[in-house]
């Protein structure tokens, strides 16, 4: 950030200097009401009971922790996979959409809107829309609709309306813009079910709290299995919801490295990547002060990644805080490396990962190869790869 005698400091939803509620004035009452409803729900046993029951009976929690039988067994590392890919819907997204949809009901909202990149959050929102009988509209960049056609069909099959967003980069960032515009008109009936741990307060906190079950379960599972904590916890970071869900319970465990893996796209030395924390600068996008990919005038840059879910020029403000405070490290994995890991995990373990999660797998494999002493690596396998198969067919020779 430029040296300035006026540094911005939000008064709400802070992670160090990051976070805040930078939205048009008209959205403030709704965001405050959402924050209040969330705080009340957190201490309401009836709400927590219903959430827990749905996560178990409807979504299939808890998810397994799997010790890889073949992957990296030639190295000194042992890789564990937290199997969020086995959650109903095919990704970790389902955890928090159930929480937010229950909250929307509690606030008397009758309509859900959401943005989606890879389509996984759109699918998750569509399924809770069907479950709770709420009118559901999903905004999706037209570029993403082409590369994730299967998910578009799944959303429509479950009764959601999918609206193509044709402006800007025609991907996730523009879908968020469009959802915010819809919300500023329809806030009285509509809950904006934001899909990641970014956006204005209270979303970064609310999404983290609904996702932290991933890390809580994984911590207990690895302690039971190994009798000790992992040496490193690894998760991919787009907006950052699966990573913050996995990290949160490990943050107080100072001996556990927290590693977020961003999309290095064509390479961090190029302009074509989604490595917001490594290559961006502090700025305001989509309601919070965090790191942002931007040009030399403060215009938001377009990101690029083989994986639509990591193709985003912003990132959740808590990740900005975890990076600048030194608690977490953020690294990059290129499209080619992710694609290789996508195939490696499929062949070695019979598990097809989402391209997003393949970034985390790829970095875990690098760490494993470099291990000189025995290491326990815990990877969040945030989603399954069926949605990506059609997209990668032209790029893989079998």
């Amino acid at each position: 950030m430029n040296a300035s005698s006026y540094s911005i400091q939000s008064t709400q939803g802070n992670f160090g200097v990051f976070g805040g509620m930078y939205v048009p004035e008209i959205l403030v009452p709704t965001l405050r009401a959402t924050a209040r409803a969330f705080e009340e729900a957190q201490t309401d046993p009836a709400f927590q009971q219903e959430l827990k029951q749905l996560l178990s009976e409807y979504a299939g929690r808890k998810t397994p922790l799997y010790r890889c039988r073949n992957l990296a067994t030639h190295t000194k590392a042992i890789i564990y996979l937290k199997r969020e890919d086995l959650l109903h819907g095919g990704a970790h997204k389902t955890n928090q959409v159930i929480g937010q949809a229950l909250l929307a009901k509690r606030m008397g909202k009758t309509r859900l809107i959401a943005e989606t990149g890879a389509g996984q959050h759109g699918v998750a929102t569509a399924l809770v829309g069907a479950l709770f009988k709420m009118k559901t509209r999903i905004y999706m960049g037209s570029k993403d609709m082409v590369r994730q056609a299967l998910n578009v069909f799944r959303m429509r099959l479950m009764g959601a309306e999918v609206v193509a967003v044709d402006n800007g980069s025609r991907s996730l960032k523009d879908a968020v813009n469009e959802a915010l515009r819809d919300w500023s008109e329809n806030y009285s009936t509509t809950h904006y079910l934001l899909g990641t741990a970014a956006g204005p307060h209270p979303f970064p906190t609310m999404v983290r709290e609904f996702q932290r079950v991933i890390g809580e379960e994984a911590k207990a599972q690895i302690l039971e299995r190994e009798g000790r904590l992992p040496d490193a916890v690894i998760a991919c970071v787009g907006g950052g919801s699966n990573a913050i869900g996995m990290f949160t319970d490990f943050i107080p465990e100072k001996n556990v490295r927290l590693i977020g893996v961003e999309a290095a796209g064509h390479g961090l030395h190029t302009k074509k990547h989604g490595a917001t924390l490594q290559k961006g600068k502090p700025g305001i996008l989509h309601g919070s002060y965090s790191y942002v990919l931007q040009d030399e005038h403060g215009q938001i840059d377009e990101s690029d990644s083989i994986s639509a879910g990591l193709d985003y020029p912003g990132v959740g403000p808590e990740h900005a805080y975890l990076m600048t405070s030194g608690r977490a490290e953020y690294v990059g994995i290129t499209d080619d490396e992710a694609l290789a890991a996508f195939q490696t995990l499929s062949r070695e373990e019979g598990i097809i990962p989402a391209l997003e999660s393949a970034h985390a797998i790829a970095y875990a494999l690098k760490l494993a190869e470099a291990s000189k002493i025995p290491q326990l690596l815990l990877v969040n396998l945030s989603g399954r790869g069926d949605k990506d198969v059609e997209h990668v067919i032209p790029q893989i020779v079998l």
């Binding site: 040296a3 709400q12 805040g20 008209i26 402006n167 813009n177 008109e185 806030y187 989509h286 938001i300």
Partner: protein, 273 residues
């Protein structure tokens, strides 16, 4: 002293029993050069003040018409620096007209608050309104504005409560921007007359003069805004739509802009109703 231009304008208009007509255009739409001639035409045909946007890549408070204006300007290579240079030329030509900026927060944060507001003051900007900084997050922006003698303008949406009205009355300078309706900018949906009691409250709180924007696209809307108690009306999307339709034909564009501005200005003359 700051706000002189707004104060002078509003008191001068009040003497003549007139409201203010304030057109909004995007600086650099479709190019910096054409933008300057467009603004010349607006002023020549009766604009009382100017509300000017700096193009931004992600304008979340704007509807499709203004989004396309951002896009045209960005494609033409327009930068915040070029916009402020243009304002400097306008200020030299029009020393008395109030000039307000409407910007998104990242353009200010990127530049640095102090630097941005001081630069704006140097080129002759009177006020700055930030579309995505609500009052609750505005403290450091207002401090930087005050220090540079720029008037910070705050927004009153239809869902404003009494606390917000009180804070806006205390902090907004130059004028207060009242939204005519919910949603984003656009001329497709008309303003709604839900704001009358808020305008009264703001007057009782000794707020800066109120101006209504969002959904103002006809002379009838201007009259409605003034009859509801506003001191002026801002039209943006209706004007930007004319620029979009005619910018490849300058003669048609300037004829259309001149005629629209004259009609909107005529509607502010309450004495003639």
């Amino acid at each position: 002293m700051m706000n002189d231009r707004y104060q002078n304008m509003f008191s001068h208009l009040a003497q003549n029993i007139e409201g203010a007509f304030i057109p909004f255009v995007m600086l650099g739409d479709p190019t910096i050069k054409e933008s300057e001639t467009i603004i010349d035409t607006l002023i020549a045909n009766g604009a009382d003040a100017l509300e000017l946007g700096i193009p931004f890549s992600d304008p979340v408070a704007d509807g499709p018409v203004i989004q396309r204006a951002d896009y045209r300007a960005l494609v033409a290579g327009v930068t915040p620096e070029l916009c402020l240079d243009l304002i400097m030329r306008l200020r030299a030509k029009y020393p008395d007209i109030p000039i307000g900026l409407l910007v998104y927060a990242n353009l200010i944060v990127y530049r640095g608050l102090k630097e941005f507001y001081e630069h704006a003051a140097r080129v002759g900007v009177d006020s700055v309104l930030i579309a995505d900084v609500p009052l609750s997050e505005s403290a450091s922006f207002i401090a930087a504005a005050n220090n540079a003698a720029i008037a910070p303008v705050l927004i009153v949406p239809p869902n404003a409560d009494d606390d917000l009205l009180r804070d806006v009355a205390r902090l907004s300078q130059g004028y207060v921007y009242c939204l005519g309706r919910a949603g984003v900018t656009g001329a497709d949906r008309m303003m709604e007359m839900t704001q009358t009691t808020k305008l009264t409250t703001l007057r009782e709180l000794n707020a800066a003069p109120t101006v209504i924007g969002f959904g103002i696209s006809t002379p009838e809307h201007v009259r409605m805004a003034l009859n509801a108690g506003a001191r002026g009306a801002i039209a943006g999307s209706a004007i930007v739509a004319l620029i979009e339709r005619h910018h490849k034909n300058p003669d048609a564009l300037h004829t259309a802009l001149a005629s629209f501005t004259r009609q909107m200005k005529a509607a502010t003359r309450l004495s003639t109703i």
